[in-house]
Amino acid sequence: MSQLRQQLTEGRFVITAEIAPPKGMDVAAEVETARQLAGMTAVNVTDNQGANMRMSPLALAVLLRQAGIEPILQFTCRDRNRLALQSDLLGAAALGIENLLLLSGDHARFGDHPQARSVFDLDSVQLLQAVNGLMAGHDMSGKSLHGAPTFFAGAAVSPEMEPFELMFQKYSKKVDSGAAFFQTQAVFDPERLSCFMLAAAPLGRPVLAGVLLLRSAGMARFLNANIPGVHVPNTLVERLEKATRPLEEGVAIAREMVAVARDCCQGVHLMTLGHEARIPEILGG
């Protein structure tokens, strides 16, 4: 059983972080970063994040595992049809990967191959169902598998998305389709997060709140303008603006969000973007 599943089952507060595969085949820097994350419960490995072509997350996830770090393999529906998704997932299981985060994926228009044809043969809800089928011993066509995989499959949610009801309908569909845990988009508004958790609690799935380290007011404004579903409140932008050392203020803000998550969530998912060394302070408190 994966550490992630074990700790969530035991009701322990889990901490995850994330790492992107390299553009190229040299993984030395990524494995080194991952070693700094050795204290985490598990580390997400992103899948052509932002539709930018990088090494297969399956390969890096296996390499992390060999280095003693537990991966959460992210898989999107953008680049693979249902045959490729299922066969890659069976391959992942054979290589010892248990934790998954199943996503629709950013549109190819955003990335470094905007002329690519996006696949989206399945959506994230249907992919969750497909994974459940694999675990039950059959593929999407109903054919029996010789050796069924064991996965701990999670999904994403954007708790601050409006309208709430529309966002929550999708959340419920993911729960019904077998999502075992959730990691959220970066959240900055304690009130909206706890509102979401109040509604989500009866569905009984652990939620790891996304905590993003803000480096500056400029970064916060950039996120507000360019990243859908991320809202940094003005009060936080002002705090970063007034701070003489904005990164320190960002660490403080992240620490406050972690404290909120300790109250209402089952864990945090940290996005520190190169400042992994600050994680102990963010978790401190």
Partner: protein, 215 residues
């Protein structure tokens, strides 16, 4: 109708390189309606090709270039002019071009890029609302197609990129799932939100499509 756009002049001239005489075929249906190529446009093109040293041996605007048999009949009516040409330049959608190439051994040059099956908002403003997927879900989605108008074609609600009711790929475009949600709410019915939609059967959209009505 089928929305098409004239190929850039340079690209067209490249396709016509080395040819001296063309027979021009226009289409009286979609290409005319969206003012890409009807009689006026055929005439204008004729004049402009002449400046580039390409003569026109004749021309015809076929009522519906996509009708294979009629296109063949119209070509035969002009067999002399077609015969004198080095190539047939077709100003119709990809379907129309192939009605012509199905009916002549002459080299066929297409002058348009076909874009999509489009609705007309107003003159010169076209929107794609249906992608002819073979498995229509509109009855459950308040008459708004997510297969076509959601940039990702998602079937179970919006992605995390929806922002203020707009699509992450273009802030000027409404999120299809937000529109579906709002309209179903006004109609007071759950519609598609009442179930988890199964993966789409793309087998119903086998290419090339073929459909014979049984009589």
């Amino acid at each position: 109708m089928i929305i098409s756009r004239q190929k850039p002049r340079e690209e067209l001239l490249q396709a016509l390189a080395g040819l001296h005489r063309v027979f021009i075929v226009g289409c009286g249906a979609c290409a005319t309606a969206c003012k890409v190529f009807g009689e006026d446009e055929v005439f204008r093109l004729q004049e402009s090709l002449a400046k580039d040293g390409i003569d026109t041996t004749g021309s015809v605007v076929i009522d519906e270039a996509c009708h294979i048999m009629r296109a063949g009949r119209d070509l035969r009516h002009h067999h002399q002019a077609v015969g004198e040409a080095d190539a047939v330049l077709v100003l119709a959608c990809g379907s129309g071009i192939q009605s012509i190439s199905d009916n002549t051994e002459k080299r066929v040059v297409g002058g348009l890029d076909s874009l999509f099956l489009g609705n007309v908002r107003r003159f010169g403003q076209y929107e794609e609302k249906c992608s002819l997927c073979g498995e229509c879900i509109l009855n459950e989605t308040a008459g708004i197609c997510p297969v076509t108008t959601c940039a990702k074609g998602l079937l179970n609600g919006p992605c995390g990129g929806m922002e203020k009711g707009c699509c992450e790929t273009d802030p000027d475009v409404a999120c299809a799932w937000h529109l579906i949600y709002e309209r179903l709410k006004r109609q007071g019915r759950p519609g598609v939100f009442g179930r988890t939609v199964a993966p789409k059967n793309w087998g119903k959209r086998q290419r090339p499509g073929r459909y014979n009505v049984e009589r």
